[in-house]
Amino acid sequence: MTPFFTLVRRDVALAFSAGSGALLGVMFFLIVIVALPLGIGPDLNLLARLGPAFLWIGVLLSTLLALDRLFQADHDDGALDLLTLSGLPLELLVLAKCLAHWLTAVVPLIVAAPLMGLFLNVSPTALGATILTVLVGSPALTMIGAIGAALTVTVRRGSLLLAILIVPLTLPVLIFGIGAVNGAVVDGLPFRTPLLLLLAASLASVAIAPFAAAAALRAARG
């Protein structure tokens, strides 16, 4: 497993090195959260009701931002060729890069979420539920996104195409995430069921997506 963690460490280090724009995702998240109330109006009660959904959609969009470079940067400079020759199975390589992406692109969003919640007047219960559901559900976003990143690895300007391909597939994650938050806030709605479904989506995608992404990488780089 050492090559696996070496690769994770390398990708995390690269993400935070100069010129990589590690916190651009968080800034984009902030911009989205600032723009929405300006479009909707300053009614704090309305914002509090819509807040968790905004946070989830903000996380979904911000996660997409960093995905297009997930394999493309290494494909363009030849590092991916060396990595595939290193003996690490392509499936594990995908998993390592996804873990690094989750740590560097998604965890900062979760850390920033309380501040965004403050702007949107989200109640502590709803905020806690949102953070918990994002924590549980975001691995699925990264893993499904990795399939799209692998499919578009050789496509110039693939980021928009990636978003078009991936967002429909991530809708169940969004639905169960918001569903669980609603369950935590509104009496009579289930909380456990959507949370467990969200967990199932994440676990299943961690198990299946590396194979699909590896197949896509092989096909794309053929």
């Binding site: 809708l171 169940p172 096909a219």
Partner: protein, 252 residues
């Protein structure tokens, strides 16, 4: 199946079959239109708008059937490496997208007088809309590659990923909808449907299926010919290039 793997054999067979298929599609479409207008009665609640169903329901069936066909073709590309499987995917995607769009639009036309609105976020409508978006994504991915050989396996992977996801999306959207509002769809339950409606509907479904087969085979033939032209253009360009470099020697 493997005999048809040779594109020339495929072109020969389909070239002979297609005129018959197109003719029967035309006859069936005219027949189903006649049955829809003159055999099927007006619905006591829906009036004449019930006739939209004879386009809407077959289009929705074929929208899903087309994706299933593409999933089988994707297996054909990835597992059996059948040379025509990828042509089948490429030809089917736009047809599936159009049938999905037809289902959505006729649904909206029916919904306006019946429900009073063009669109509701009903579970079934939403999942068909997501299916439409997936078709568009597939077409966009196909168009992102210049070389059809390279696109084939990439697109096949996405088709299969989508195929695995469709039941999950359907389940999540159903769940989401029951969370927000109870289902308000007027349903046709199979056995309760009256024969005077059922027979025109089935005729229309058969007519649309034959039409789909005609469109799909014609599009496959066009794609095979398009690829031949592309190969010939590339070869001609290569020959012209090598010819240009030889010309000085020939002049000597």
């Amino acid at each position: 199946m493997w005999k048809l793997a040779n594109p020339t054999v495929f072109l020969g067979y389909t070239g002979r079959a297609l005129p018959v298929l197109w003719a029967s599609a035309l006859v069936l479409l005219v027949l189903s239109a006649w049955m829809a207008f003159f055999v099927a009665p007006q619905d006591y609640q829906q009036g004449n708008t019930v006739r939209i169903m004879f386009i809407h329901v077959p289009a929705a069936w074929l929208a899903m059937g087309c994706y299933a066909l593409m999933a089988v073709s994707a297996l054909g590309t990835l597992v059996w490496r059948h040379p025509l499987a990828d042509v089948s995917i490429k030809a089917a995607a736009p047809i599936g997208a159009v049938f999905t769009a037809v289902a959505l639009m006729t649904g909206a036309l029916w919904g306006k007088p019946m429900w009073g609105t063009w669109w509701v976020w009903d579970a079934r409508l939403t999942s068909v809309l997501v299916l439409f978006l997936m078709y568009l994504g597939l077409i966009a991915l196909q168009n992102a590659f210049e070389d059809p050989g390279r696109a084939a396996r990439i697109v096949a992977v996405l088709v299969l990923v989508g195929f695995v996801n469709i039941p999950i999306i359907k389940f999540s959207v159903d769940w989401w909808n029951t969370l927000h509002q109870p289902a308000s769809v007027v349903r046709f339950d199979g056995p309760t449907i009256h024969p005077t409606i059922l027979w025109p509907l089935l005729t229309s479904a058969v007519a649309f299926t034959v039409l789909f087969i005609c469109l799909h085979l014609t599009a496959m033939r066009a794609e095979i010919l398009r690829r031949r032209i592309r190969t010939m253009t590339v070869l001609t360009a290569q020959r012209a290039e090598s010819g240009a470099s030889f010309r000085p020697e020939a002049a000597e």
